[in-house]
Amino acid sequence: MLDAADGQLIVAKLEKKQRSKNPAPPFITSTLQQEAARKLGFTTKRTMMVAQQLYEGIDLGGETVGLISYMRTDSVNLAEEAIADIRALIAEKYGTNNVPKEPRQFKTKSKNAQEAHEAIRPTSVQRLPEQVKNRLTAEQAKLYDLIWKRTVACQMVHATLNQVAVDLNCGSDKNVFRATGSTVTNPGFMMVYLEGVDDSKEAADDQESLLPPMEEGRPVVLDDISADQHFTEPPPRYSEASLVKALEEHGIGRPSTYATIISTLQNREYVTIDNKRFYPTDVGRIVNKFLTEHFTKYVDYSFTANLEDDLDAVARGEKDWIPLMNDFWRPFTKLITEKDESVQRKDVTQESIDEKCPDCGSPLSIRLGRNGRFIGCTNYPTCSYTRNLGDDNVASSAEPEVVEGRVCPKCSSPLVIKTGKYGKFVGCSAYPTCKHIEPLEKPQDTGVECPQCKKGAILKRKARSGKIFYSCSEYPKCDYALWDAPIKESCPDCHWPILTLKTTKRRGTEKVCPQKDCKYATPYEGDPNDVNGPA
């Protein structure tokens, strides 16, 4: 194809479109929980706790006042007075051209009469996040800032984007490449707040990219054709944010129950959370298998959602509650009695597998034990053969992997890679005689001297959470630490010996002074990859 193209592509079609993007509606319980998880890393429980504090009242020095409206709601409605306040603030702070002609009205999805009648908003948008910050805890300040921005943005003008799509013929009109570009011509609400997304694929859509000017029928230079290998990926496990979203989409749960559902599942040990994603436990799987097989209707999503709707109808006075209870109870209690007699314990806790016991030749099965599932012989207790689920038939007492080319700095024994509670690490093979351990990924020296103690060097490290940070090699004697990669350049404003590199979507890569009180920041001319520190 590269040969046929002869170094050029022909612009076959050029399409320019103007697209407008509207702001997201103001917060309701579920969207607040999702955004606080995405943007602040809060759990649903934490979000509700902090929101409650903001609702119940904050001492602003002399006056105690609730900073936000009630936080358990599924209405996106805003009081007329609140809208007027928000519009006035936008005009004052962002200019009248950012105030739409008509106030934006959002439609509430649920027809629920049970909950509060307004969205979650600041009780006065005139209380700017930066003004109340000193009176709030760090978490309260972050959540208030999020609520304030979302509320203000929802009443601002739409954003206008220019989109360009170019079809380029390569050699003939049978081989077509497509390039797309998008630029923001008027940011509107986007200058205040943009809703987060759960999966990075969706995010690609909103990224800005500029195409050079081109004309239909004209050639452009073809430098190279590259091929990239990809792998299809399974759907991601639920996070708290995506589970709340899914529950809401199915109509299961209500503003007052999302946080409780999540904590109940964890307390019952039916699910665990790792890296902010839900994994079912073995017990969780078996309980679910039992319920879906024998109580199918009662774990059915639409059945559960319909029952919630019926209860809402009772609250609105459109349905009587006693017949509703009867309709539920009669078949349910009958099914309980039936299943109590018909279901055998072993049918639930054992799952047969196509394998014979190596000791006695009886069939093997997967069973549920105190510590989860394992493979055991069906001839138990006569035969006591067991092995771990996931182990191969062959006894493979895996030899620990030896770290090549290095020995323990304390006792000179070989070092091995071990797996502990928090993942893999390097440990001494003479354990427990020698207790030397070190992280698997050795911290890398950034070559920058610590500006605090002036003795150590700043090292790039990985936190337990996987997040990268930079800290002094003299720790714990010196506790200097940074989130961003340091460079050996002193601040021209405050003369602090180092600067850091920081990339933001809005401002690109910048050299920023790490000192809190210094506002120095200037665009970075070097390689943008430098923000990642030493590789």
């Binding site: 119940e56 049970q114 509060a116 009648h117 050079p212 299809t232 017990v283 509650w321 109590d340 549920l368």
Partner: protein
């Protein structure tokens, strides 16, 4: 001047609201739910119109006692628990409890809802009180009863058929199903390899990338 007693859910708000309303109002907290179904069989009786047996929650006994004491000096009771169905139910339980104790004789009982804790919102709500919503209370009772009936009947079956101490819940179990189904989807997923081709081109000296959309098409 007549005295009024205002009941809210959480103690954090008491002082603030008391300040807003002035000295004729005393504000006390219920500290959340005050009564729940008895944790035994028979708390809900399906053969008797789903009659429910409630008891005072231990840790809130003293808060209810305080409310009981304070009501004696008041002429009006404002039930100002949170503006949602849980709040409506808590108000109703406080009301029922005080009625059983015969403490509401000659007292006016009103429901008020604050959507925000500001002086304006609170004084306006007190100026425009409503009554307890029977419909909302019924819905909340029905919900509590359904949860109880599912838990109390299905959980023992899990103990018998799987392991002691397990539980099932009307809303919790469908949520668990979502998480397990997703895990099974991931386990059944077969990763496939695919390739994408892109052209690195430039126009007027400015480089850009384009993705192959048609090949020999």
């Amino acid at each position: 001047m007549s005295k009024s007693l205002v009941i809210v859910e959480s103690p954090a708000k008491c002082k603030t609201i008391e300040k807003y309303l002035g000295k004729d109002f005393q504000v006390l907290a219920s500290y959340g739910h005050v009564r729940d179904l008895i944790p035994k069989e028979g708390a809900v009786d399906p053969d008797n119109g789903f009659a429910m047996k409630y008891q005072v929650i231990d840790r809130n006994q003293r808060h209810l006692q305080e409310i009981g004491k304070a009501i004696k000096n008041a002429d009006t009771l404002y039930l100002a628990t949170d503006p949602d169905r849980e709040g409506e139910a808590i108000s109703w339980h406080v009301f029922e409890h005080l009625k059983e104790k015969k403490l509401l004789k000659d007292k006016e009982v009103l429901r008020v809802v604050f959507h925000e804790i500001t002086k304006k919102a609170v004084t306006e709500a007190i100026a425009h009180p409503t009554e307890l919503s029977n419909n909302m209370v019924n819905a909340q009772q029905a919900r509590r009863a359904l949860d109880y009936l599912v838990g109390f009947n299905l959980s023992p079956l899990l103990w018998k058929k799987i392991r002691r101490g397990l539980s099932a819940g009307r809303v919790q179990s469908p949520a668990l199903r979502m998480i397990v189904e997703r895990e099974m989807e991931i386990e059944a997923f077969k990763t496939r390899e695919y390739w994408s081709h892109s052209a690195e081109a430039s126009a007027q000296g400015q480089p850009f990338k384009a993705k192959l959309t048609h090949f020999n098409g």
